[in-house]
Structure formats: C-alpha cells, structure tokens
C-alpha cells in the first residue's frame, strides 16, 4: 500500500487507519517521491490526493497506468469539482472519494481493490 498526500496530518491519519485494520503502508508527501521508488509489484494499491505541488494525483494516475495497468489507484480529493471525478474515473481510477472520507467506505473499496489479498477489517 502507498499513500500519497502533501498534507502531513492526513498522511499520518490514513497510515494509522490502515495500520489498525492490518494493512501495512508507506506514505509519500508527493507523487515524485513515489515514482522515484516505484517498481511493478512493490505496492498492491495506491491511495492518492489530487492537488499537490508538482505532479498532481491525476497525472500520477496516468503515469501509473503506463507503468502497471493492473495496479488499483484510489483518488481522494477535497474538491467538489465534478470534472475531477470524471477525469479520475476515465483515467482508470478504481474509485474517486471526496474528503472527508468515511473509513468504512474507504475500506470497502480497498477490499475490492485488493481482490482477495486482504479480507477486510477485523470487525467489518
């Protein structure tokens, strides 16, 4: 699992949420940092913010599709802008979620994204 968000507090919060449900993750403060270390198979799923300095979440999605078309990417954003949602889904995102995200919704989508690699949170 990889989390990409330029906001420190959100990175920490998401990492801890994944931790409590038994998912190990690595956090990156920008898309470039993830891309620098990326190699196919290193991550099972990517959760990324959209608006970040440098490469945006949508651009990251595009690059990741080229590197590994089967890697699920979950886009989270604080924008209510519908064009971002449609661009994300057209670009092949697994799902587009709006901040603030609900944990069970995120985990439900993670469960489907990870397709059998993870059986969901301990308490449902």
């Amino acid at each position: 699992m990889a989390i990409v968000d330029d906001d420190d507090d959100i990175r920490e919060a998401l990492s801890d949420l994944l931790l409590v449900v038994g998912l190990a993750s690595r956090a990156f403060d920008r898309a470039e940092a993830l891309l620098a270390e990326f190699e196919p198979g290193a991550f099972d799923c990517i959760v990324t913010d959209v608006k970040m300095p440098g490469i945006s979440g949508l651009q990251l999605l595009q690059r990741l599709r080229n590197l590994d078309a089967s890697l699920p990417v979950i886009i989270i954003t604080s924008d209510t802008d519908s064009t971002i949602r449609s661009r994300a889904l057209e670009g092949g995102a697994h799902v587009h979620l709006e901040k603030p995200i609900e944990d069970h919704v995120l985990l439900l989508h993670l469960e489907s994204a990870l397709a059998g690699k993870w059986k969901g949170p301990p308490n449902g």
Binding site: D9, E12, A13, D16, K51, T80, K99, I101, D103, N123
Partner: protein, 425 residues
C-alpha cells in the same frame, strides 16, 4: 474699508502683497455702489474695529513681550478684555443669514459672540495679529444666534500696520454641507472596502473550503481509527493518546483557519502590531495556494533572512499579499502562456524598510496602463471590478509605505511594496 475689502484674502497664512497680482477692479465712482456690492456678496463679512486690542498690543510690545502665545496663556484676562474691546462695526446680509440673526444690528457690538462656541479661537486670532500676519484662517465652529452651531471656514484679514485705520475684516464660509459630504464619503469608502473584502472572500470561498477540509479529514479519520482500536482486545492506550492528540491539533488548525477568515471579513480599524512580514506572507499564501495549484502554477517563495519587524495591521497586510497573488494568478490564467510561474520574495532594504516583491509570467501590463493600475475601478480583466490593487495601494500607503509596478525585462508584471520598519508606538 475700501482698501481692506479689495485686498485679496489669501487662504495661505502668509504675507501676500495685495498689489502683486491684484486685479484693478473699477467700482465706478460711487462709494454707495461699492457698499452695495459688499452687502450682497455671497460671503459672510464682518468689519471689525480692533483698536481695543491694538492699545494692549502696543503696551506689550513696549514691555518686550515676544512669545505672545505663552503670555496670553498666563494672562487670559487680556483675551477676555479684547473680546469686549474689539467691536463689530458692520456686517453684510450673508453674515446675518449665516448666524441666523434678524438684522445686522444683532451682530454689531463686542466681538465676543463670535467666539462663544470656541473660546480658544480668540486667542489664536490675537496671536496671529500680534505677530503681524496678514491673514489667519481655520476651520471652526461658530455659535449661531438661535443656539445652533455652524461649521465654517473662518478667516481674518488684518489691517496693515501702516494704515491708520484699525479695521480688520472677518469672513466666514459655511462648510457644513461640505463636512457632511465628506463624512458620507468616508462612510461610503469604509463600506466599499468592506464590500470589496467580502466579495474577495466569495472568490476565495472554494480555497477556504479546501483548507478546512484537510484538518477535518484528519479529525474524522483519526477518530474512526480510535474507535477501531477501542473495539480491539489489545487496546493500545499510547496509540489512543496519540490519535486523540492529533484530533485536537487538527481541530485547532481548523479553528485557526476559521479565525483567519473571520478576521479578513471583519470591519475594523487598522491595528498596530509589531509584525514579521514573512509570517504575514506565509499566512496569506494559505488563501491562494488552492488557486495556484488549480492553475498548475509553479510558485517560488524566497523569504529574506530575519527581517526587521514592521508596525501595522496583520489582516490588512495579508490582504495586500493575497490581492497581489490573486492578481498574478489571474494574469497567468488569462494570459494563457506556457510559462506559469510566480516568484515572490521578501527582503530588508538598505534604508531600513522591508520589501515584498512579486513577479509573474503573465502578459505584463501595457505601458499606457502602468500609471492607472492602482486607480479604483481600473481593470483589464473581464470579470474584474478594479478594486484589488486600489485597496493594496491604500493599505500600503496607510502603513507609511509605497507600492510600485513595472514590467520585468524578461516579461510579466512585477509589483513591489516597501514598508518602514520600526516598533509600534
């Protein structure tokens, strides 16, 4: 009288030679005609016999008094004496009307009544007279005969020392309407600035929503994670403590943002706090970061090493920075060029002032518009109201600073403002 009336009353309190640029009015041969003219002049006039004061002045000069102001302070009875000794000998129609009298005779007699609303004025008039000035003027308030008061521009033209006649001419112009208009204008301006802020807030609402959602997301996720920990058998108190601490700090962060937004909307007198311009810039960036990212603009910020502090209003100065940033973002967005870059920096100037500089890669400003760019309602933007930069200028000027604009040799516009450094008094 004839000589005194034709003498040019200068608004400047200085010695003007009445013959230097005087128009030679011809009043015919009739003194009566001249008297009529004075009577119907639309300016309130008093002819004043100052012999009562001259006698006192002569004595004081003989005694070697030079600092008349201090002397009169020590001897207020002299001022009181003069108020009775100096007499109004004639007034025109406008004077009667201005002070709401019934006839000229109401205003003839000791000059005392002129000073009833502002007793200190008598002393100031005497000081100027003693010092040999030709004119004295000030904006003041005079009590009318019906008990109301009138705001006037009050002027005295003293008799020239060389002339035998001790006749001074007192003139009043009603400025009540003008003062009222000025007050209304000031009110309008305050309302306008307030409205401008609110409309700018509207433009920035999306940005603010974005900023608030960040800590809110962290709060919700941390709280949900806490609940998941609590549902486990191996509850980690340390983890719960950490999550709760994060919830609190993010709630504070959200609170700070709301506070800042409220501060920007607040209508208040400019504060005078000791400020670090770098902090002001950092806080202002919060409001435009979203816009900058939306337009994929590359922002470079260069903070000058410890800057001397400036004295001023944090919110107002933030507004200047926000307006300049928004202006740059819009210039780049509207310009549609390939380079999308904003460079801003702060520095300490050699002369002790603190400088903020911003440059964008927009289309720059047409030469013919450079001079008008800070004018109210001047805009080249389709949706612009032309108030952002005007507000910037008035705020900077109110802080004793200067704002300038130029086109960068490599393209784009460049704004620079400087503020004097120093501690609040």
């Amino acid at each position: 009288m004839a000589n005194a009336a034709s003498q040019r009353v200068s608004v400047a309190d200085q010695d003007v030679d009445p013959t230097a640029d005087r128009i030679s009015w011809e009043f015919g041969t009739s003194a009566e005609e001249y008297r009529k003219l004075i009577h119907y002049l639309p300016v309130a006039l008093w002819q004043v016999d100052t012999r009562g004061a001259s006698a006192v002045f002569d004595r004081l000069k003989a005694e070697g008094v030079t600092d008349i102001s201090a002397y009169l302070d020590a001897h207020p009875e002299l001022v009181e004496h003069a108020k009775d000794a100096v007499r109004v000998t004639a007034v025109n129609r406008e004077a009667v009307s201005l002070l709401r009298g019934n006839s000229a005779s109401d205003l003839v007699g000791p000059v005392r009544y002129v000073f009833s609303a502002t007793p200190d004025l008598a002393k100031r008039v005497m000081v100027a007279h003693f010092e040999g000035r030709r004119n004295y003027f000030e904006g003041t308030r005079i009590a009318a005969l019906d008990g109301t008061s009138v705001d006037v521009l009050f002027t005295v033209t003293y008799a020239t020392p060389s002339r035998a006649l001790d006749t001074s001419l007192l003139m009043m112009i009603d400025i009540g309407e003008r003062l009222k208009t000025e007050t209304q204008l000031r009110q309008l301006q305050a309302d306008f600035t307030h409205a401008a802020r609110i409309s700018m807030l509207g433009e920035l609402a999306t940005s603010i929503a974005h900023e608030v959602k960040q800590p809110l997301t962290a709060i919700v996720t941390n709280a949900e994670t806490s609940l998941r920990w609590l549902a486990r058998e191996d509850v980690s108190l340390q983890k719960l403590k950490q999550l709760t601490t994060r919830i609190i700090s993010n709630a504070r962060r959200a609170g700070d943002i709301v506070q800042r937004v409220r501060g920007m909307a607040a209508k208040h007198d400019p504060g005078r706090a000791s400020l670090d311009l770098n902090e002001v810039v950092e806080e202002a960036l919060l409001f435009v970061r979203h816009d900058i990212e939306s337009w994929s603009i590359d922002l470079s910020v260069r903070y000058g090493a410890p800057l001397p502090r400036v004295t001023g209003d944090r919110i107002q100065l933030q507004q200047v920075v926000v307006n300049l940033l928004v202006n740059s973002v819009q210039a780049i967005a509207q310009g549609g060029g390939l380079a999308r870059r904003i460079e801003l920096g702060t520095s300490a100037d050699g002369d002790g002032s603190v400088v903020f500089c911003i440059r964008d890669t927009g289309p720059g400003i047409a030469d013919e518009n450079l001079e008008r760019i800070f004018d109210s309602f001047f805009t080249t933007k389709d949706m612009g109201m032309g108030i952002g930069l005007a507000i910037c200028q008035s705020i900077v000027v109110a802080h004793g600073g200067r704002i300038t604009v130029s086109n960068h040799p490599d393209g784009g516009a460049q704004f620079r403002f400087s503020l004097p450094s120093g501690v609040a008094d």
